[in-house]
C-alpha cells in the first residue's frame, strides 16, 4: 500500500548509542516500540515521543522520530499540549513509576480525566533507577532501599487501579521481555481514541533486580500470570486448569477447572469493552495471578475532538472572523 509498510524496526533506530545498563528491561521495550511503529500505518514524521525524567525517559533519544525529553513529571502535561495543538500526530509518552506517579501524579490523573489521545508507556520497575536506588510510589510496603534502609512504611500505588479509578478508557499491562505480546498491545493503543495507559513491568537489573520474578520466573509464570483477551474466558495455568469466577460477594476468585463441578463454561469471559470499570478495577488489583493484556478499552470522546468540535460550532455563527473584527467589536466610538 504505502511506502510506510516497507519500514522495519531499524528505520526507527536513531544514531544515539543506547546507554541503558546491559540487561535492563528498557532495551526489550525499545525493540517492541520500534517494531510496532514500523507496523503502524503512520508516516514516520507524525510520531512524537515525549518523555519526562528517569531511566525510561531517555527513550526518545533512541527513536528516529520527533522526540522531546522534558522535565521530571511533566511529560503528561507536555504531551497533552502537543496532542491538543496538533491532533494529527501520534503522541507517545514515555514515563516511569516515579515520573508519572510521584512528581507527575497530578498531570497523570488529569490527562486520564480529560481522555487526552496520547499513548502512555509507564515503565514500572518499582524503584528510582537514575538516582540510584531510592524507593518509588510502587515499591512494595516494607521494601528496603537506599532511602528506606529499614523498609518502607508506605503503601504502593497500583498503576492499574489508579488509572481505572481516574477514568482511563484504556489500560493494559505487560512484561518488558514479552516483545511479541507488547507489540500487539502497542498496536491496539494506537487504534484506541483517547488515553491509553500501558503499564510495563520492567526489570531494573541494578537496583531492583527480580522485582517481578515472583510471577515472571519460568517455572511459575504460567500459574501466576493471566493474559486476558477480550471475548475469551479468563483461563490460565500450566495445564490451562485455572480460571476466574465471581464469588458470592462479587469479588474475583480463582477456581480450578474440574474441581467442585466447575467446568470451562463457568469461567468469566473477559469483556474489556464493558463501560463499567468495576471488574477491570478488580482485575488490575489481582495479585495472583497478575493480569496482563488489555484489561480495559472503552470508547469515549477524546479531549481534542471536543475542543475542535466546540471551536467549529462557535465559528459557524461567530461575528468575529479575524482580529480586525474583534478589535472593532463591542462598544466603540469615533472621534473626528
Amino acid at each position: 500500500m504505502s511506502e510506510k509498510q516497507q519500514l522495519t524496526f531499524k528505520d526507527y533506530k536513531s544514531d544515539a548509542e543506547v546507554r541503558w545498563c546491559p540487561g535492563c528491561g528498557d532495551i526489550a521495550i525499545l525493540k517492541a516500540v520500534q517494531t510496532a511503529f514500523a507496523e503502524m500505518d503512520i508516516p514516520k514524521e507524525k510520531f512524537a515521543v515525549i518523555s519526562g525524567i528517569g531511566c525510561s525517559s531517555r527513550f526518545p533519544y533512541y527513536m528516529d522520530t520527533y522526540g522531546f525529553h522534558t522535565i521530571h513529571g511533566r511529560a503528561g502535561a507536555i504531551a497533552s499540549g502537543v496532542k491538543t495543538a496538533n491532533p494529527d500526530l501520534s503522541v507517545w509518552q514515555i514515563t516511569g513509576d516515579g515520573d508519572a506517579l510521584a512528581i507527575g501524579g497530578n498531570h497523570f490523573i488529569h490527562e486520564i480525566r480529560r481522555n487526552i489521545d496520547v499513548n502512555v508507556l509507564l515503565f514500572n520497575n518499582q524503584i528510582y533507577g537514575l538516582t540510584k536506588g531510592q524507593y518509588s510510589p510502587t515499591s512494595l510496603f516494607g521494601q528496603k532501599t537506599k532511602t528506606s534502609p529499614y523498609g518502607t512504611v508506605e503503601a504502593p500505588f497500583n498503576p492499574g487501579s489508579l488509572s481505572i479509578g481516574a477514568g482511563a478508557t484504556f489500560f493494559a499491562r505487560g512484561i518488558d521481555v514479552n516483545v511479541k505480546d507488547n507489540v500487539e498491545i502497542l498496536l491496539e493503543m494506537e487504534k484506541h481514541k483517547g488515553i491509553s495507559i500501558f503499564e510495563i513491568l520492567q526489570n531494573c537489573v541494578i537496583f531492583n533486580d527480580g522485582a517481578h520474578s515472583y510471577f515472571t520466573d519460568r517455572e511459575n509464570k504460567a500459574d501466576r500470570q493471566l493474559l486476558v483477551k477480550h471475548g475469551e474466558p479468563m483461563i490460565f495455568g500450566k495445564d490451562n486448569d485455572k480460571g476466574l469466577v465471581l464469588d458470592d460477594e462479587y469479588r474475583l476468585k480463582v477456581v480450578n477447572i474440574g474441581e467442585n463441578g466447575i467446568t470451562k463454561n463457568d469461567i468469566l469471559i473477559h469483556d474489556a469493552h464493558n463501560t463499567s470499570p468495576i471488574l477491570h478495577f478488580e482485575l488490575a488489583e489481582l495479585k495472583e495471578p497478575v493480569v496482563l493484556g488489555v484489561i480495559r478499552s472503552v470508547n469515549k470522546v477524546s479531549y481534542h475532538e471536543a475542543v475542535y468540535e466546540q471551536i467549529e460550532q462557535v465559528q459557524a455563527t461567530a461575528k468575529n472572523k479575524s482580529m480586525d473584527d474583534l478589535l472593532s467589536s463591542g462598544s466603540t466610538w469615533v472621534v473626528e
Binding site: 533519544y61 497533552s80 502537543v82 468575529n320 472593532s328
Partner: protein
Amino acid sequence: METKKPIIEKEHVVIKFTGDSGDGMQLTGHQFSDTSALMGNEVVTFPDYPAEIRAPKGTIGGVSGFQLNIGKDEVRTPGDFVDVLVAMNPAALKANRQWLKAGGTLIVDIDAFTEKNLNKVECVNPFDNDDLDGVQIIKAPMTKMVQEALVDSGLDNKSILRSRNMVALGIAYWLFQRDLSYTEDYLREKFSKKPEVAQANIDAVKAGYNFGENLQYIRSYKVNRAFITPGTYRNINGNLATAWGLLAAAEKANLPLFLGSYPITPASEILQEISNRKDLGAVSFQAEDEIAGIATSIGASFAGHFACTSTSGPGLALKSEAVNLAIIAELPLVIVDVQRGGPSTGLPTKPEQSDLLQALWGRNGASPIPVIAASTPSDCFEYAFNAGKIAVENMTPVLLLTDGFIANGSQPWKIASMKDLPEIKPRFVKEGKENYFPYERIEGTMVREWAVPGMKNYEHRIGGLEKMAVTGGVSYEPLNHEVMTFERAKKIADIAEQIPEQQVYGKNKGKLLIIGWGGTFGHIYTAYNELLEEGVEVSYTHFNYINPLPKNTEDIFKNFDKILICEMNEGQFLKYLRTEFPQYNYKQYNKIQGYPFTISELKTAIKQNLED
C-alpha cells in the same frame, strides 16, 4: 422659578465609587467611565477591590472601590485624591475619607448610616461633627428611593435593593450632566432576557438623576471635552489588551494560538478572554496547575503553535523549571506575569512590581530570557504583541510583566489596525533542506531553525539535557556547555538590535534623571509634567524593555549627575541597573503599600533629590 445652578468647571475630576463588595461598585464605575469617554473625556480607571469575594458585609475589609479620573486633556493616572466620593455605607466612607479633597463632594446613601452599620465600623455619625466641614454633601435616601421607584417593577425587595448602585450612578450622572443613553442601552443588552430587570435598573438610574435635578444649592461639575486624536476608540483594560495583543501576534505570525493557564488573581481574565476567542480558533487549556499551564504550552510550541501562558508571581515561581526547559530547548513562548503584592500569597488584588528579579534571575543555571514590561492598560496590547514577535523570531520564551494596576485599570484606546502592525516571521526550516541540525544557527544570527513534528525528514530530538552545539545531541562535554551557555546569552543580548532605542522626556543632559519602568508610567509622567510646568528642570525616561536593555541606555545615563529610580518594590530595578552599569549615582524612591504612587509624593521625592 428657575434658578441657574452654580457649576464647578474643572480640567480633571477624580471620582470614586465605594461600597460593599456586593454593592456593584465595579459595574457602576465602568458605566460612568464608558459614558465619560463617549462624551469626549480622557479617562483612566482603577478598580480597588478586596481579596475576599464576600468579606463580611459592611466591614472595612469588604469595601470595594472603583476610581476614575476624567479630564479635558492628557489623563495618565486615576488620580491621587478624590473630588467626588460616593459611599454606599459607613465602612466605605471610613475607608476612603482620607482620600476626599477638602472642598470635594460626598454622595452617601443616608439610609445606610444606621446605628447598627456605624457600630460595625466603630464609627460615630460623621454628619454629627465637623469632620466633613467644607465638603459638599449629598445625603440621598437611596434605599428608600429605589424601593419607591421600583414598587411596581414586579421584583422582590432583595432584587430591588440590588439596583441601589444605579441610583448612585444616576446622581453622579446628574452631578456631571452626563447622557444616560449609553447606560440605558447597556442595561437593555445585559438583561435582554429579563426586560423587567433592565427596566428596573433604568428606572433606578433615572430616579437618581431626577433626585439631583431637585437638589438645591448643590454645585455640579463640568469637564470639557478633551482634544483627542481622531480615530475609532474603545475602552480597554490591561488584561484584555494583553490577550488581544497575543491574539494579534498569533494572527500576524500565521500560527494558531494556544494558551495553557491556571486561574490566578489578577491574571485570570487573560485565560477567560482567550477561552472566549474560539471564534478566532484560539485554543485555551485550563490546566490542573501552574506547571501544567506552562508545560502544555511548551508542548504546543514544540508542535508549532504560537504558545503562551498567563500567571501572577506565585504561579511564575511554580513555572520556573519549565521556563528553563523552553530556554534550553529554544522554543518560542510568551509568559505573562500580572504582578501582585508578594511574597507568598501576599496581596493578591494589589499591584506591586516585585517580580522583576524573579523574572530576570529566578531560575536554576544561567537562563537568560527577554523581559518586557507594559506601562499602561492600553499599551499592554503593543507589548504583548512585541513579546510574541520577539519569542517567535528568536526562538525563545519571553517574559511579559504587567501588574494588577494596569491589568484592571482601563483607558480609551485608539483601536489598532492589523495592517499597521509589523510582520512576524516564524523561523520554520525550509522544505528540502539537507542535513537539518536542530541547534544550527541561522546565518548572521544566534537563532535556530524550527522543525515541528509532521515535517518530513527533519525528525530530531530536543530536551532539557545540555545539547551539543549544532547537532543537538546530548552532550556532557565541559567546553561545549560553556559554548552553549554563551550562545544562549548572546541570542538574548542580540535582541537589543530589534527593540527601539530608549527615549528621554526633557533634556538629554542635566542634574537629575528620573527612571521608571512598567506600570508606573502614568504617575511618574504626570509628576514630571507638573514639575515641568512649575519650572523644575528634570528629565525622565521610562523602561519597557528590561532585558536586554535598549542599547543607548548607558549613553543616556552618563549625561546626568544623579539618577532617581522610582518603583513599587524595594529597589529591584535599581539592583539590576547597579549590576549592569555600576558607575552611576543612583537614588531610589520606593513604595510597597499595594497602592500606586501618588503624584504629590513623587513630586516631593523628585524635588528632594534635586535639592540634596
